[in-house]
């Protein structure tokens, strides 16, 4: 151990940016003292249970609630008829559509909410739910989105009759939601006509579910005397929920308090407002008692927020050296029965237009059609930033398809097409401005770390050996993400710009409270946010109390999803810290009787330039802020910042995986996964690594097992953890992580956000590896999930399997 310099020990005490600080959240979680929504018990609390439709598409002939209401311990049974006088039987969705809170005349997906039973406890409520008698007349269900716009297709949304313009423009059919296009179609078409080589590939990104370990739920408590409504809710965006509840209920927002307590994972599942929240609030207002609604796992997997379900056709045009000249993408998006996509309002396909990826593609055009089907609504960003997962999947698959067609190595083709460092900030053919990137060194670092040439040599040897029991696949992705939504000029939700916020108050003793408009669901904001303040304002992180999630104390913010906490709230935190620092500079100058310009900031103090012995620590300055400030200055030491980002941030990565497929059985073993991520400035390396492990595991789950299949009647076949794949310790591979640092030029501390990258980047990496294992046999694509059975079928089709 070297002798520690005084400065290093001060830096260590500060625990600022770059430190692997242990998490402040952990003590309560490791002792079972977290407060998740189902841990909240209020005096007189009742419990609500949903009655749900067994059919995917049916007319409701009648609902008889009399037996349920007569059951001892039952307080209310709500149906759409009860909500109609309040105009609450329908609610707006984030995508500009409307959604039935309780089925109004017909049901349009299996497990749709039909009635809400409120009783003394969850057992009585479940008993009474069984007694609600609903008579249905079954209608044909549309399960295949390709048939949704057939001439004779049954109409799913009768409430939209005659509306040939939706929230995103013209509708061509009763089951059509929108057509969205971006890019120069004519130029792109011409580039394809003149290209030496073109490739085309259809692919489905299957319907999956974020499936956090905690399901959705809330506790609604209306105080009729005070006229206050408090709702504890597992929400990733509590302020947005407050605004929605205000719009729906006509209660002023000043009388509504939304609290996001500890959240057991979100992954995009907890952004929207679900019918259960609305009915619990209504029940609490009507009954004057707190009402809890917690969905079961089956309800979670079949009703709240699916992700993906994109049927994509990708095309690339290139020269014979593999340099890409143009990209064309057509998408058929299955949105289910209500368009409840969680995207910024103006973007019906989210940020899908980042699909030109890390490559310098001069021409591109994208067209997306959204359609209604008899499936539950959603289209959320499952560990992703608004359809970026789909975008990255298509470009990373397509570039491999092109490489195979031209016989070019899959790493080499990427090196030939990368946007070079000198081209940043880079304006993409689809209108995005990439802030910064340095792609080639990242890929080269990975290739060196895994001995890429050695792996390819091993693969060639195994391909040449007919007795080799396995097929070996090497998958590469070099992806660019778009996160940190977003600039309010282009991104809003319900008309509210997607800014975020921070408020810091420094107390007289030099400790501080800081509050933000985001909410952690495991990201460790209480830990990392304090690190930003520590570095930027010179207050030791251990003295900073970070609070989020209570709308009555936190400043308004748009919440945590799409990796936006660090890029947006993190920037607000840095800027609020700088405001504190500048006021502190003036106070320090006043105390030392020098000009503020003669002061310099040093870790946790201000000192006089050229005379470092004369200094005032932030602790001393904080005390002075409450009793001895310069003439004309307000007392106190606090700052608020609302940050509207000038641009998104564009983290990137280079991933490589090696896997072996048993020829006899189709079993796949991931031998190695090497993930290099560049998220700009790194705040807490331990937490970054943990998030990358988690994202890779969720990527592994999607690539190898997760799907929500439907049968022809619209029955969802993946509704419990018996059917829906969550990897365990036994399947999950070992992860290797690495990094480069390319700071964002427009972010106050250069940080970009990271937690989605591993999910977004790993899924095509796995697919690329599986296809690569078969590439020498002429296979250009196989669909996800790559489970053993499907892989075995592929082997059988190629006459390889035993």
């Amino acid at each position: 151990m070297n002798e520690i310099t005084p400065d290093l020990s001060r830096l260590e005490r500060l625990e600022g940016i770059g430190c692997s600080r242990k998490r402040r959240e952990d003590p309560r979680f490791i002792q079972g003292r977290g407060t998740y929504v189902d841990d909240i018990h209020l005096p007189g609390m009742l419990f609500g249970v949903m009655v749900r439709s067994p059919y995917a598409h049916a007319r409701i002939i009648s609902i008889d609630t009399s037996k349920a209401k007569a059951h001892p311990g039952v307080h209310a049974v709500l149906t759409a008829e009860d909500l109609k006088p309040l105009k609450l039987h329908w609610m707006p969705t984030l995508a500009g559509d409307v959604q039935a809170v309780l089925a109004d005349g017909k049901v349009v997906f299996q497990n749709q909410e039909v009635a809400f039973v409120v009783a003394d406890d969850r057992y009585v409520a479940a008993d009474a739910a069984e007694l609600v008698e609903v008579e249905y007349e079954e209608l044909p269900a549309i399960v295949d989105p390709h048939k949704a716009m057939d001439a004779d297709a049954t109409v799913i949304r009768e409430d939209l009759a005659g509306k040939d313009v939706g929230a995103h423009g013209a509708r061509r059919h009763a089951n059509h939601i929108f057509n969205w296009q971006i890019g120069d179609k004519d130029r792109t078409d011409r580039a394809f006509e003149n290209a030496a080589v073109t490739v085309k590939q259809d692919m489905l990104y299957p319907r999956v579910h974020p499936c956090p370990l905690e399901t959705c739920g809330c506790v609604a408590s209306y105080d009729a005397i005070r006229g206050d409504l408090t709702v504890w809710i597992t929400s990733q965006a509590p302020h947005v929920v407050r605004t929605v509840v205000g719009l729906l209920s006509s209660i002023p927002e000043s009388k509504i308090r939304i609290v996001s307590p500890d959240i057991g994972g979100g992954f995009g599942n907890k952004v929207g407002v679900y019918p259960g929240y609305v009915t619990a609030i209504v029940a609490s207002i009507v009954l004057g008692r707190p009402v809890k609604w917690i969905e079961s796992r089956n309800e979670n997997l079949t009703t709240t927020a699916f992700a993906r379900d994109y049927w994509m056709t990708g095309e690339l045009a290139a020269d014979t050296d593999g340099r890409i000249k143009a990209m064309r993408v057509n998408v058929l998006a299955d949105h289910g029965a209500f368009d409840a996509c969680a995207d910024p309002t103006k973007w019906p396909a989210g940020m899908f237009h980042v699909c030109t990826g890390s490559y310098d593609i001069p021409n591109a055009h994208v067209s997306v059609d959204g359609v209604y089907t008899n499936k539950f609504p959603g289209g959320v960003s499952y560990r992703c930033s608004f359809r970026v997962t789909e975008a990255v999947y298509i470009i990373e698959r397509m570039i491999d398809v092109l490489a195979q067609k031209l016989g070019i190595d899959k790493a080499e083709i990427r090196l030939r097409n990368f946007i070079t460092k000198d081209k940043f900030p880079y304006h993409s053919a689809l209108g995005l401005d990439y802030d910064s990137g340095d792609y080639e060194p990242a890929l080269r670092k990975v290739m060196k770390a895994v001995d890429y040439d050695g792996l390819r040599a091993e693969q060639a040897a195994k391909r040449a050996d007919p007795n080799c029991p396995t097929l070996m696949g090497i998958g590469i992705t070099t992806f660019t993400e778009i996160v940190g939504a977003g600039p309010s000029k282009s991104c809003d939700i319900l008309g509210i710009g997607m800014f975020d916020s921070c408020e810091i108050r420094v107390h007289p003793d030099g400790s501080a409270i800081a509050r933000m408009g985001t909410i952690s669901q495991g990201q460790g904001h209480q830990t990392t946010y304090a690190q930003i303040i520590a570095s930027e304002a010179g207050i030791a992180a251990s003295l900073i109390n970070v609070e989020e999630g209570d709308t009555s104390t936190a400043p308004y913010g748009l919440g945590t999803y799409g990796s936006r906490s660090t890029p947006v709230a993190g920037a607000a935190i840095a800027r609020a810290s700088h405001k504190i620092r500048e006021k502190a500079r003036k106070i320090a100058a006043h105390l030392l009787e020098v000009s503020p310009d003669d002061m310099e900031f040093d870790l946790d103090q201000f000192r006089v330039k050229g005379d470092p012995a004369r200094a005032k620590t932030m602790k001393e300055i904080a005390w002075a802020a409450y009793n001895n400030v310069p003439e004309g200055m307000e007392m106190g030491l606090e700052a608020v910042d609302y940050y509207d980002p000038p641009n998104f941030t564009f983290p990137f990565g280079a991933y490589l995986t090696v896997l072996d497929i048993q020829k006899r059985t189709g079993e796949i073993k991931v031998r190695r996964f090497y993930a290099l991520d560049d998220c700009g400035t790194r705040i807490n390396p331990m937490i970054i690594e943990g998030q990358i492990h988690g994202g890779l595991t969720e990527g592994f789950a999607v690539a190898f097992g997760q799907e929500l299949p439907y049968d022809e009647q619209g029955n969802v076949l993946g509704g419990t953890l018996m059917d829906y794949f969550l990897p365990t310790t036994m399947e999950t591979p070992h992860w290797e992580t690495d990094f480069t640092v390319t700071p964002s030029p427009h972010h106050p501390i250069g940080a970009k956000g990271v937690a989605e990258s591993p999910h977004v980047g790993s899924i095509p990496c796995f697919s690329n590896a599986v296809v690569d294992a078969f590439a020498h046999l002429g296979v250009t694509h196989t669909g996800m999930p790559h489970n053993s059975y499907r892989t075995w079928q592929q082997l059988r089709a190629l006459n390889i399997a035993g």
Partner: protein, 173 residues
């Protein structure tokens, strides 16, 4: 409303008496009647392990056992691990090795890992992976959970242990 039955068992060392319906599940008794909200409900089908408790020296998923089956048993939940303000080695390990993120699976994970280390004080990584396969985590990818259990195993065997995430690893002046 079914007739209720009185059930007595030992919870984290203290005797408790509760009145329950025969159909009541232990997880609901613990959480709703006994204010022990550490064990969580994640799936209701015995898959996820968030509700794991230790019952008479065995790991049990409390979402699929009836409270009436627990008469005169010894039940240990996450609330029984820290003693006199001192964290259990497993709790320390999870914190030092970043074995948790959202924290929802953590009580079940620690309770299950406790049983593993009772049976196998020096487990291999393969043994840890096998023993922990009934506990799902959606945040961590398990790698740091395994490290946390290894940390605790070493500490319980009296070895000096240090975090593999040193505070200042990436910081330079």
């Amino acid at each position: 409303m079914a007739k209720k039955t009185a059930v007595s068992f030992t919870l984290n060392g203290s005797t408790v008496d509760v009145l329950v319906e025969p159909r009541e599940l232990l997880i609901h008794t613990l959480r709703d009647k006994l204010a022990h909200t550490g064990p969580h409900i994640g799936c209701e089908t015995t898959h996820c392990g968030a509700c794991t408790v230790d019952l008479d020296g065995q790991s049990v998923k409390s979402c699929t056992i009836l409270t009436v089956q627990c008469e005169e048993t010894q039940v240990l939940t996450i609330e029984g691990f820290a003693k006199g303000g001192q964290l259990h080695a497993l709790q320390e390990g999870f914190m030092q090795e970043h074995g948790l993120q959202c924290g929802f699976c953590t009580p079940g994970m620690i309770t299950r890992a406790y049983r593993l280390l009772q049976e196998i004080p020096d487990p291999t990584e393969e043994e840890i992976r096998y023993w922990m396969a009934g506990n799902l985590c959606r945040c961590t990818g398990y790698q740091n959970i395994i490290k946390a259990i290894q940390y605790a195993a070493r500490k319980l065997r009296g070895e000096v242990v240090e975090t593999s995430h040193p505070l200042m690893a990436e910081v330079s002046l």
